[in-house]
Structures are given as C-alpha cells and as structure tokens.
Subunit: 292 residues, 2 copies
C-alpha cells in the first residue's frame, strides 16, 4: 500500500509537540494506542444529531454482528463510536461545529495511520422540486454567494478552498440506492450558515423579502442544478479533500421548499426518512467491506 | 409598560400562518399557553454546552429556592429549562447553530408577550494577554475580516447587521464582578467561524502560516482592543438587537493565546473557571430580580 492512501495532515508544528490534545474529543494522543484502536478505520460516518448517530452505530453493530465501542468522546460536545472498521461521529449543526470535530477526527485518523478512508455525511435537508423522502447525493456544494468554494477567514484574509465529492463513491451510492429501490437524485447542494433568512424561509423571526422574491431565488437555485439545502457539506468536502479522505454527502429531503417552508411530517415519517439514509449507507458499507 | 419594551419580531407572514412550528425546539405555538408559560421571562441565559446549561439551571433553582422546569425542548438538538423568570437554553458551537435556536427562542418570547428581556451568553474563550480564569465582558465583537458587523448571506447577497451590546448591562455586570472579587476585563471579542485556522492556532490538522505570522496577527488583535476569541457573540448581539432584547456576553478565558494554543488546565481548574461565569451572572440576576 503506497503512502498516498494515508490520511494526511499538513502541519509541521505538530511534530514538535510533546503530546496532542484533541480537546473537543477529550482525547490526548498519549492516552490511547491510536494505531491499535483506530488504524483499521475505513469508513467515517457523520451526522448532526448525537442521538441519531448513536442509533445508527447500534443498528450497524447489531445487523453486522459487530461489537460497538463505548463513546470515545470524553466531553459532552460530541459523541464517537466505533463498530468494526466504521467510526460514527456527530458534528452538531453548521460548519463551525462540524469544522472543529472534523479537524480533530482527521488528526486522530492520521495519528492512527489509517488509510483508504471514505467519509460520508448522513443528514436531513430541505429539498427543491423533490417530494419529501427523496435521497439527494451531492455532486457539488455552493456557498451563500452561490460559489462552489468553502470560505475561511484566516488572519483577517478570505481564503477559498475547493470542495469536491468523490465521483466513484457517489456512483456506488447511487447504484446501491437503485438496488434498494430508494428514491434517489444526484444534484448540487446549497450549503448555508443560517436556517431561516439564509435559506429564504418565510417563517423565521425576521423576513425582509416577499414570497415572490423567495420563489424567484429558489427557482434560480433549481435552474443552477441545486436539489437540496443544508448547512455542512462544503466544509465537509473541503477539509476531507485536504486530508486525502474521499467524501460523499447523503441527505434525505424533509420538505419540498418549492411548496412550503414548515416541515409537516409525522414523527413516523421523519423516522422512516432518516432510516432510509441509514439503509443506503449501511448497505453500501456492507458491500464495500464484504460483510455477509 | 409601553410596547417598546416588548420582544419584537419583524415578519408579517407569521400572522397568516395557522400555527407556528419552532421546529428545533419541537414546540408548536398551539401546543402550549405561551404567555402563561413564558410571558414572565426577564433573563435569557445561553451557553454552548447542554450539560453546563442544565447544571447552571439546577444550581440557580436550588440557590434561589425556585422550581426548575422540565426540559421544554422536544428534540435532541438543544435543551431549554425555566427557573422562575430565567430561561436557560444551550446553543451548541458556532454561529449557525446559535442562530437557529435564537430565532426560535425570540419567536417563543414574542408569542409569549415577554417584555424587558435581557439575554446573556455565558461561555468559554481563548484570552489575549490575560491569565486563564479572567472574565471578559464584550463591549464589541469583530468578524473574520475584523469588522464589527454580523454577516449574513440572503438570496445570494451579503447583508451586514450591526451588533451592539447593552452598555448598562455591561456596566452592571462589571460592578458585580468587582464586588465578587472576580478578575474581570472589558474588551472586544474576535468572533470566528473556525476554532483552528480561523483563530490562528498552530495545533490543527492544517497550518500554512508561521509562528511569527500568528503572533503578529494576535498582537494586532490585542492592539485593536481584542481581549478574547470565541464563536458566537456577533450573531448573538445582532439577532437580539433586531428583537429589542438587550444583550451581554460573559466569557472566561481558558488559555492566554499570546502564550500558547493548547489548553493546559486540570478538569478542576476548568470547572472552577466555568463556575466563575455562573457566579457572576447568577449574582447579577439575583440583584436585578431582587431575590433574597
């Protein structure tokens, strides 16, 4: 196996540190044998909600007859479970929350000498022109200015990062969805920093635009190829691109934003839709890892 | 009491909705008598961590001899407790996560006809030129481009919002800290979307700058009057300004960033520092509400 499959970081300063604190995980590099504990990881599955990630890890362990680890995260900010070669980590809501834990998980996997890792974000989203329940696989993500780049501000300067999803993983996920008879679409994702005004909703505390302006904007997004709206995909792809981890984002739509803003689904429907993302991702991983 | 003390929203569309779903709280306007349940709220206390907010609410209830409510939040995304006239809500990490719950709490307090509300964010932060344990009261917050404005992207366009803290609340908090003999400083807050590169840390997965560049930038921040770095204050002030709620941010410093990046405190020290923010805020509220 050549080194170019390894999880990469780019920070010469870490070599001179005596130890490394992954401080939102509450893990020190010196506390655990990281290569022994995490060196075999091949899939990193992330989602916003702590409860949902825990449930997915429990179901995966049970269905694949694997042991589920304790929660490795020692703070109350995030959770992290391991089931065989799959790591399950929640990321909270929005890019800042995601960026912190993703940087720390990338350092963890690098210290562990993990290689050939694929990362999949499993989420919920607002859909565009698609019925609730449709799975959307992101082939591109665009920011608040509709550019396909992740924006960082470093030392007062704007820095743009490319954010690419892996074409092969995307194709394999799409084929798996078709085999499972799950409704699936490939499209662009509008990645925002704000759920209400940032997504042109009419039901927030503040709304300075008209319903006509809203629909003009959402239709413009649709014409650009956007099929859903969420809040993490750009940073997810950009940080994983830099760390040599292939990435994909699978979201289910909970509302067709071309019809309304408020989610009007029963708890049963929401649960079923959230389960469909798990069904797709777990079946994809099962096939890749050749688990019977 | 004149109407100009009421919690305000600005969205004519809500009037035409049959109901209103505060969907990350899992509360419908029709489910509860909101004026009866929340109409008396005078203080909204927020912080990132769910566990810490719950602990603060429990301590406040016990010390002030008040009943603590159940967790009103029906999703696993946030928590919300009430103790007398004080509402305790966590906001997760970063502006996007904060913005969602703050919009929904503002709608809740508006529906409840609450008036004369003061909101205080209680957090941890990196300090600049101050020993760990110092309390920093924000008198201004600046964004990644060092401008004192909250940036939103609405329908593809950049929108700037002013973000002002309340001078009277700030002064009262400072006086209370002095009376309690707690180390306190008033200063600007650098509000970032990123914990590692965005805060010029040398210990992330990626670092393209030198230690000299880092210190030049942090010293520049210091010269601008910045005394701490966190990830929510700008949005907190800006949304509360729009809703006619006075706001303050109280953070304790866990590290002097002019000396290092990694937090090297014992769990006991961190707990004591987090408790000092609570001591200040609870004593301030006790005096304002004239609880004996």
């Amino acid at each position: 196996m050549s080194d170019n499959k390894m999880v990469q970081i780019s920070n010469p300063n870490l070599d001179s540190q005596l130890d490394d604190c992954l401080c939102h995980l509450g893990i020190f590099k010196s506390m655990l044998d990281l290569p022994m504990t995490f060196g075999d990881v091949k899939f990193l599955c992330m989602g916003g909600s702590e409860r949902r990630i825990r449930k997915y890890a429990e179901m995966f362990a049970e269905q694949m007859n694997l042991k589920m680890s304790e929660n490795f995260c020692k703070t109350d900010r995030y959770v992290m479970y391991k089931t065989g070669q799959v790591l399950w980590v929640n990321h909270g809501i929005g890019i800042p929350s995601l960026s912190i834990i993703l940087v720390e998980v990338i350092k963890l996997l690098h210290h562990a000498k993990a290689k050939e890792v694929v990362a999949i974000r499993i989420g919920t989203s607002g859909g565009l022109g698609l019925p609730p329940g449709t799975l959307i696989l992101s082939n591109k993500a665009v920011n608040g200015e509709l550019q396909d780049q992740y924006v960082q501000y470093i030392m007062g300067k704007k820095v743009l990062r490319s954010a690419n999803f892996d074409a092969e993983v995307l194709e394999q996920l799409q084929q798996t969805a078709i085999q499972l008879n799950l409704p699936v679409q490939v499209g662009k994702t509008f990645c925002t920093d704000d759920f209400y005004e940032g997504q042109a909703r009419m039901d927030g505390a503040f709304c300075d635009y008209t319903v006509e302006q809203k629909f003009a904007f959402l239709n413009h997004l649709y014409d650009l190829g956007v099929r859903n709206i969420e809040m993490e995909s750009l940073c997810f792809a950009a940080l994983l691109n830099r760390s040599n981890i292939r990435s994909a984002v699978v979201c289910v739509s909970l509302v067709n934003r071309l019809k309304g803003d408020q989610i009007k689904l029963s708890a049963k429907d929401i649960n079923e839709f959230e389960m469909s993302t798990y069904k797709l991702v777990s079946e994809y991983i099962r096939k890749q890892l050749r688990i019977h």
